[in-house]
């Protein structure tokens, strides 16, 4: 064990004091607990937005722009309205025309109207929406809407869009520069002077589609009481409620968002989308429920995507591998609107420094508008791009200097207690162990000897545990929970966290059961309904286990304390109430566990004692004084074994190893699922998920041409959990949901470098690039030989 974790072990003691009411060893945490929503999902009982039907429900379809950049001169829907079965058509003119955005704190970053009023900025942007009695009629009606466009010149590449004569996509945004971000510490110029070796590289990282299995869909119902209720497949019921209220000019309290079962999110479902907005506008006009379901093609061309980035990286190191300074410049393709782009641009810059100590670091990021599909957050949130560039360059540097890449990483790695100057404090860090585990795995494999055309590559990474910066400008605490104890001992837990498949409901149930001292099956969890659940920022940035988890602990401690007061009164003879605890439905004296009473009895006494009120506990959590970015950081190493057919460039994943530090695990099954899932998505980003655009048009908006990892391509994914203890985490836990999307592409690139000596600077890595790189290498070597002979 490393000194860091020893340190954190020490912290564990005082930690238990802060959660004073659960002194004895946890008995439920990190045990095998199937998801509490499992049976509903395995038997077809779970009702997704996709399945919702309401009385008198109409079906909506959206007319989309065929042009990447055009003025809307006129929209004539008369032919559509004349079609029997069509109930109504809405356009931007039926809205308040408010420019909305999820960065509510900064008006100039709120730039998207969803149903655009005067101008379209990408192919697929909603122009009008129809509601009809059947989906088929709605679809037919779409073709009957006549739109007059004045087509404007478009620009699709950020480098082009920044040129003087490039068309201006948003009025007043010079050179189409949407956001710039700058991070700096130390004095780069000085520290580059100290470096023995400086390397500069250009990289390009492609986009990626979230490709949630449930396409964007919504059912909205506006009623004469001037109240709006909608079912929506999203990652944050509260965000959607608040955004919708704002853009429709309603009070938040009059808007109810229900997102009970969600068919995947991955960072693509916490912004306003066309499905929900058009459904709401139509419903408000017609006073009928309206359902809109995106086709897969719509989901590809008219939502948002991972941000493509051009990276320039300059790194200076000493002969012995000590890092001196790094300078990075990023120009990202923002697409038509901002979305979460500002965050992605900051985070890619921040995580490009991860997980290493840089005496000085300088990052300039530029996000540029183009007439393409908007880009935004996606699992990893800018970090996969950052790692693709950083981790490959570091591997190349180690080779150039003849150093052990693992040891060079270790030498410069983060450690518990390190402070990223002006940015972040590292409370716990398992990087050192991760390096050791990965190094041993690789050594063992290479000692046994790899089959022909096999090679191993690896990459380090780190990630955040939820965001700190309140860009949404929410007055509420970031997370909150309410726990209610019934007289029969059953427990109802209300959280604002959104269950999108990651298992958050189960994780909250586990935390609740552990803290209260009951069993998971005693607990009902309610989430994803803004009328019944407290506000919570929702599922993004790997924040829920940490933040909502802490809120649940506080709520349970509140309730538990109230309960124990009654137990104390009955059992008496104790010094302080903290001498009592509850475990597995048994209320007992900590020093004399056999002395106690059943939980259900206590529930009855307590309820009567409270003159019949049900015992309720409330908990809130908002990170404070935790730097700029996140309260905690996870660390990991990803190693992959690939097989390459050098003649065709055919690449296949053969085996892998994940060493991941997520603090102390809470939901074991959920953790494994998150890591394996992140791996498959990250590997796809590395070599399959190519997303080409031509003149603003996505060339493969379907699952025939957009390739993703399938079962037959998935290697074994053994996982080494490194249990550190995160002082601020619920029972020591931290991020597990996104981090592993970050290292894998770089690990594959590094495998190609270690095996064949080629440097891949563009991802996804496609077969012809490999063949090309091998050819160039061969020619270079020939030339070199030739030169030698010449002498």
């Amino acid at each position: 064990m490393t000194t860091e974790t020893k340190k954190t072990e020490a912290k564990k003691e005082d930690q238990t004091l802060t959660f004073g009411l659960s002194k004895s060893k946890p008995i439920i945490l990190n045990t095998h607990i199937p998801n509490i929503d499992g049976i509903a999902k395995l038997t077809g009982r779970a009702t997704y937005t996709f399945d919702v039907k309401m009385p008198g429900m109409l079906y909506g379809k959206i007319l989309r722009s065929p042009h990447p950049h055009a003025k809307i001169l006129n929209i004539d829907a008369s032919r559509a309205l004349a079609l029997p079965g069509v109930k109504g058509v809405v356009t931007g003119k039926d809205t308040l025309g408010i420019k909305q955005g999820i960065w509510r704190r900064y008006q100039d970053l709120c730039d998207e109207q969803i149903l655009t009023v005067e101008k379209v900025r990408y192919i697929g942007e909603p122009v009008a929406a129809v509601a009809a009695v059947t989906e088929e009629i709605a679809e037919a009606a779409i073709d009957l809407i006549d739109v007059e466009y004045e087509v404007l010149p478009g620009v699709y590449e950020p480098m082009e869009a920044m040129k003087k004569d490039a068309p201006m996509i948003h009025d007043g945004v010079e050179r189409n520069i949407n956001v710039t971000r700058h991070i700096e510490w130390g004095d780069c110029d000085e520290d580059f002077e100290k470096a023995d070796y400086i390397r500069e590289d250009h990289f390009f990282c492609g986009g990626q589609a979230h490709m949630c299995m449930e396409t964007r869909c919504a059912v909205a119902s506006y009623t004469p009481e001037k109240r709006l209720t909608f079912y929506h497949s999203n990652q944050s019921a509260y965000y959607m409620q608040a955004l919708m209220a704002g853009i429709l000019g309603m009070r938040e309290g009059d808007v109810r968002c229900i997102a009970q079962y969600v068919g995947g999110g991955f960072g693509g479902k916490f912004e306003m989308d066309g499905a929900i907005f058009c459904a709401c506008v139509l419903s408000m006009k017609l006073f009928r429920p309206v359902k809109i379901v995106y086709t897969r093609e719509e989901d590809f061309i008219a939502t948002k995507r991972r941000t493509p980035m051009h990276y320039w990286v300059r790194t200076g190191v000493k002969k012995d591998g000590t890092f001196c300074a790094r300078e990075a410049r990023v120009v990202s393709n923002g697409g038509a609107y901002t979305g979460m782009g500002a965050t992605a641009l900051y985070l890619t810059g921040f995580f490009h420094s991860f997980p290493y100590v840089w005496p000085s670091y300088r990052y300039d990021g530029y996000r540029v508008y183009t007439n393409t599909l908007p880009t935004t957050s996606m699992r990893g949130f800018g970090a996969p791009q950052a790692m693709w560039c950083s981790e490959q360059q570091i591997e190349w540097i180690a080779k150039d200097l003849g150093l052990d890449p693992f040891e060079m990483r270790r030498k410069n790695g983060h450690y518990a207690g390190y402070e990223v100057p002006g940015q972040a404090y590292i409370g716990s860090c398992g990087l050192d162990e991760a390096l050791t585990i990965a190094k041993n795995w690789v050594a063992e494999k290479e000692k046994k000897g790899l089959p022909k055309n096999h090679a191993i590559g690896y990459s380090a990474a780190g990630f955040m545990t939820g965001g700190i910066f309140n860009w949404f400008d929410s007055p509420y605490s970031f997370s909150s929970a309410v726990v209610t104890v019934n007289e029969d001992g059953t427990v109802i837990l209300h959280v604002g966290a959104t269950e999108i498949g990651q298992g958050s409901n189960t994780t909250m149930a586990i935390i609740c059961a552990e803290t209260l001292g009951v069993r998971v099956e005693d607990i009902k969890v309610h989430s994803g309904d803004t009328d019944h659940c407290p506000a919570d920022l929702g599922a993004w940035g790997s924040r829920q286990t940490f933040m909502t988890g802490n809120a649940v602990i506080k709520a349970c401690e509140d309730a538990k304390k109230q309960m124990l007061e009654f137990a104390y009164a009955r059992m008496g003879g104790l010094n302080v109430i903290y001498d009592l605890d509850i475990k597995d439905r048994w209320v007992h004296i900590v020093a004399r566990p056999e002395r106690g009473m059943p939980w259900t009895d206590l529930c009855k006494f307590a309820t009567r004692g409270k003159s019949g009120q049900r015992i309720m506990g409330r908990g809130f959590y908002t990170p404070h004084r935790k730097g700029m970015i996140s309260p905690a950081y996870s660390y990991m190493m990803q190693a992959v074994e690939i097989e390459l057919d050098p003649e065709t460039g055919h690449l296949k994943l053969i085996d892998s190893l994940t060493a991941h530090d997520c603090g102390t695990p809470i939901n074991h099954l959920g953790l494994i699922g998150q890591l394996e899932g992140a791996f498959s998505m990250a590997a796809g980003y590395g070599y399959l998920e190519y997303m080409p655009f031509e003149d603003g048009k996505m060339m493969n908006p379907n699952l025939v041409d957009y390739k993703m990892i399938r079962a037959t391509e998935m290697p074994e994914t053994p996982i080494a959990e490194i249990d550190t203890y995160e002082p601020d985490g619920p029972y020591g836990a931290k991020e597990a949901g996104e981090g592993l999307t970050n290292p894998t592409a770089a690990a594959m690139g590094n495998a190609l470098f270690r095996g064949w000596g080629i440097q891949m600077k563009e991802c996804p890595i496609r077969p012809h690039m490999i063949v090309q790189a091998l050819k160039e290498k061969e020619e270079k070597e020939k030339a070199a030989k030739g030169a030698k002979k010449g002498k």
């Binding site: 989906e135 003649e647 055919h650 060339m699 037959t712 391509e713 077969p767 012809h768 063949v771």
Partner: protein
């Protein structure tokens, strides 16, 4: 949205052919329908009548005898071909090909007749069957005719079938002695359609290539018979070098398109490599 159509369900082949001649230009035969429903959904294919022949069990058969060779009924599913012991024994290459043809769900429902008639340039069975010298039996109310599968394909999604005809049977001649056949497609997902593919049939006479048939998939609007590759091989003493030459020749015979999956040039490069390998593979089998 699929345009409305009237569904006709013949009880036997004769009925089917009558319906076909009754509605010649306004009907579409649908067997499994998995390929054809996609263009219909996209509105690219509109038809008044659909004749559903999936239920025609009289066309669901696999027969073999050493003189006549193999006969497969048009409504036989890919899965039955894949699972047939006869075919596994006599034409293993067909089983290998079927095993990587799309997903099991698709193979369970999709039929060989439907696949061939759909005439997708990226289809797997056609190149293999052509290399094996297969023929298709076409039937109409007027009668039957047999043509080589090679002539059957005229253009992208176009065949030599008259509008009142349908495929009823696929005929594959017996494998000559000392003959090996191989098929390989290039793709990144195991059972995905091929970015390009090659089927090779090689008959040996001692160490000389007596006969060869190289057919390329997705390297033109129809399956491409790489005749000059055949010429390179026939009558020559087999060698790795010769296999490579055959690859070069095959690339020359091909006329691929550029798309997002591969450029024209890269497809040519791939087909060189694949042909070289498959010829060698077939050669090795033939020499067993």
């Amino acid at each position: 949205m699929i345009q409305d159509f009237t569904y006709l369900k013949p009880g036997n082949v004769k009925e089917a052919l009558t319906m076909l001649s009754d509605h010649v230009d306004e009907c579409k035969i649908v067997c499994g329908g998995q390929s054809v429903l996609i263009p219909m959904r996209q509105g690219l294919l509109v038809t008044e009548y659909v004749i559903g022949i999936k239920g025609l069990t009289e066309l669901d058969y696999i027969k073999y005898d050493d003189k006549e060779g193999l006969k497969i009924g048009a409504t036989t599913t890919h899965r039955s071909i894949e699972k047939s012991d006869t075919i596994k024994k006599k034409y293993p290459v067909l089983v290998e090909m079927e095993d990587r043809l799309a997903s099991i769900q698709t193979r369970n429902w999709g039929t060989i007749g439907g696949n061939l008639a759909h005439a997708d340039a990226a289809g797997d069975p056609a190149p293999v069957l052509i290399s094996l010298g297969a023929k298709v039996k076409l039937a109409s109310a007027k009668g039957e005719r047999v043509m080589s599968l090679e002539e059957f394909y005229t253009d992208l999604f176009e065949t030599a079938m008259e509008h009142d005809e349908m495929i009823v049977e696929i005929q594959v001649p017996p494998m000559p002695a000392k003959t090996g056949a191989a098929y390989e497609k290039f793709n990144l997902l195991k059972n995905d359609q091929g970015i390009c593919a090659v089927a090779a049939l090689v008959t040996m006479d001692k160490d000389t290539c007596k006969n060869a048939r190289i057919v390329l998939g997705n390297m033109g609007v129809t399956p491409v018979s790489a005749k000059s590759a055949d010429k390179v091989l026939i009558g020559k003493k087999m060698s790795d070098k010769l296999c490579a030459e055959a690859g070069e020749a095959a690339a020359g015979d091909s006329d691929p398109v550029s798309d997002i999956h591969a450029s024209e040039d890269f497809r040519r490069h791939l087909i060189k490599v694949l042909t070289k390998r498959m010829v060698k593979h077939a050669w090795e089998q033939a020499s067993k």
